[in-house]
Symmetry: C2
Subunit: 171 residues, 2 copies
C-alpha cells in the first residue's frame, strides 16, 4: 500500500518536474546562449561520470571498481540539499575519484534491481563489479533504505568503504 | 559473416577507445582542473540533450516529437568529421532544436532495434514517438544503411523531414 502510494507520488513528482523543466528551456532559448548541460549535474564537476547504466557497468567490470548510482530530481529540495553536501565533501569526492565508477540519473532505468524498495529520490545504490546490486549497503531510514540526508555523509563514506570490499566471485 | 566481423571490429574499437580514454583522464587529473563533461559531446552545445534512451523515449512520447539517436565514438575519425559538419549546419541544428528529442551515445544500449544492420559508428537512427524505430529512414550506403558522411547533410535534413511525419497510431 505504502509502496503503491510511493509509486504514485514518484509519477506525480516526475510529471511536475517534466513540466517545470520544459519551461526554463524555452526561457533560456529566448534569452540567448544556453549553458551546455553537464553529466555531473552538480554532484562533482571534477569527477568523471558515466552517461548510462550500460556504460557504468562496462567500466565497473573493465576496471574492477564498485559503481555508485545516484537517483535524484533537479527540483527536489531533498536531492538539492544532499547534492550540496555531497559535492562539498572532499573525502567523498576523493574516494569516488580514485576508487569508484559513478553515475547520476534523473530518470529510472528499466532494471528493477536498482529500486529494491521503491523509486524514491534521492537514493544511492552500490553495484559490485560482479554485476550484483549491493542491497545490503543501506542508509539509516527503515522506510527508504537507500536514502541519505546531508547529515549522513559519514555513514555514506563508511558505506563506500563497504562497497570497496568487492564480493568474491566464483572461480 | 560480415555482420560477425563487424561485431568483432566494434569490440576491438571499443577496447581501443576504452584504453585510450583511460589515459587522458589521468593526465588531466595530474595537470589540474578538469573541464566538466557535457551531454552534447560537441554535436550541438546549444541543444537540449537527453542523457539516456529511457529518458529520450519518455520525452518523445510526452512531447509527441520524433527522436534522433546518434551513435558515435570519441576517437573515431569518421565520427569526428560527421560531428563537425553536423554541429556547424545551422539548418540541422535549428530543426533539431524545434522539432526533435535528441540523444547521442558512445555506448550501445541493450535494445537490438537500435542496430538494425549492426553496431557501427557513426550511425543515426530515428524513433517515432509511437516507440517504433524508423528502420525505413536510411542514408546512402547499402552496407551501412544508417551511416552518414559530412557530404550527406542535405540527405540527413531530408530524412529529418521524413521522421517529422509521424507514424499513424491505431485509434
Amino acid at each position: 500500500m505504502i509502496r503503491g502510494l510511493l509509486s504514485v507520488l514518484f509519477v506525480l513528482v516526475a510529471v511536475a518536474v517534466s513540466s517545470s523543466l520544459a519551461k526554463p528551456e524555452k526561457n533560456i532559448a529566448k534569452r540567448g546562449k544556453r549553458i551546455p548541460q553537464t553529466l555531473s549535474r552538480g554532484w562533482g564537476d571534477q569527477l568523471i561520470w558515466a552517461q548510462t547504466y550500460e556504460e557504468a557497468l562496462y567500466w565497473a567490470r573493465a576496471q574492477n571498481k564498485p559503481l555508485m548510482v545516484i537517483f535524484h530530481l533537479e527540483d527536489c529540495p531533498h536531492s538539492a540539499s544532499m547534492k550540496k553536501a555531497f559535492a562539498e565533501d572532499k573525502d567523498i569526492q576523493k574516494v569516488l575519484d580514485e576508487d569508484f565508477i559513478i553515475l547520476n540519473l534523473v530518470y529510472e532505468t528499466t532494471d528493477k534491481h536498482l529500486s529494491p524498495d521503491g523509486q524514491y529520490v534521492p537514493r544511492i545504490i552500490f553495484v559490485d563489479p560482479s554485476m550484483t546490486v549491493r542491497a545490503d549497503i543501506t542508509g539509516r531510514y527503515s522506510n527508504r533504505m537507500y536514502a541519505y540526508e546531508p547529515s549522513d555523509t559519514q555513514l555514506l563514506l563508511s558505506n563506500m568503504q563497504k562497497a570497496k570490499k568487492l564480493l568474491k566471485t566464483e572461480l
